[in-house]
Symmetry: C2
Subunit: 207 residues, 2 copies
């Protein structure tokens, strides 16, 4: 019993963007609301009003759907070079920090004072355990991070950064410091830290 | 996680260092040999020739024992300022890279060409799931990382780094980039990358 719009696609009709949007919204809402443990593909199907088979065909496991949610959240983070590399990187990193906090607090009170990495660590563990999830996570970050590399290169071309700047290393240092604190040392990440981080990283890269 | 004194201490008897050493060696060997999934406290007890209760009293779960193994491996990494901060940080980071590769390949063929973070991701996930494991992981890194912060400060005091260097940020950038690539983007970490990383990070910090 098919309750979903697949057959339409085969007849040359556009795939139901409304259903895609409902699925994505329901998945994100459920993940942030319940957290990783209580997140389930079945529940997303119920909330989105689509057949379970529709979801399982595209996201065979809960981890696949969680990665899709994270990818969509990342796509919401603006990456734009506006002519002030310090301000532009600071804005980008603060948006990353906001997203990381939302993910780590998923399913928990927003006032939770602990430093658990929550869903962020679950995604890293799923990527390490299952090669296909790992490939999806790596592809997601590659696709997004290329935008920040371009931002750095634009700043270099505009004369804000020195010609010799290693864009990839500079980006790894910035993003890496945030994930390292969240996943490994438990040290806080906030706007004050982002300011120190950007100042430290740009110190030697100014033209 | 510290190797806590046994109850024997309460009776004024010296703790069995031989048994501690056997347990630590057996745990490390089993973890590297079998990987996270096949690692068990029971098997470590058998291999070390000690009672299971001895292990469970000190490491209530498999994760506690895994963290103790990681802590011991970290303690084997030399951190020393010898007067050339670039060389000293490069040597330290290469040792970290070696340890990360051993951990990520635990239980798998050393020729494994994938980029899975393996046990490193399992430790991060365990730290996120269980507050006491998280506290132990954070304490372990705090205890180790303070040595590298001291190295950076010694280099600053020796005039190799500028007075304004933010040691904590500099360290987060270096270690963070390695963990970020391993856990998140799957990009390779090797000696060539360490060279680029140290060059990029020290670029603006030279006195």
């Amino acid at each position: 019993m098919e309750l979903e719009p697949e057959p339409m696609v085969r007849r040359g009709r556009p795939r139901s963007e409304a259903a895609d949007g409902r699925i994505a919204d329901a998945a994100r809402e459920l993940l942030l609301d319940r957290g990783y443990d209580q997140f389930s593909v079945d529940e997303v199907a119920v909330r989105a009003g689509v057949a379970k088979t529709t979801l399982y065909r595209r996201w065979p496991t809960k981890d696949h759907l969680v990665v899709a949610v994270v990818a969509r959240m990342q796509d919401d983070v603006p990456v734009e070079y506006r002519g002030d590399v310090r301000a532009d990187l600071t804005r980008y990193l603060n948006a990353i920090v906001d997203g990381l906090h939302r993910m780590r607090l998923a399913g928990r009170p927003s006032t939770s004072g602990d430093s658990s990495a929550g869903v962020v660590a679950e995604v890293a563990a799923a990527a390490a355990r299952h090669a296909d999830i790992g490939a999806a996570v790596h592809a997601m970050f590659l696709r997004r991070n290329v935008l920040v590399l371009r931002l750095i290169e634009q700043a270099r071309d505009a004369g804000e950064l020195s010609d010799g700047v290693d864009a990839e290393v500079l980006f790894d240092q910035l993003a890496g410091a945030l994930y390292y604190r969240l996943l490994i040392t438990g040290a806080p990440i906030d706007a004050a830290y982002v300011d120190r981080l950007v100042a430290g990283a740009l110190r030697g890269t100014s033209a």
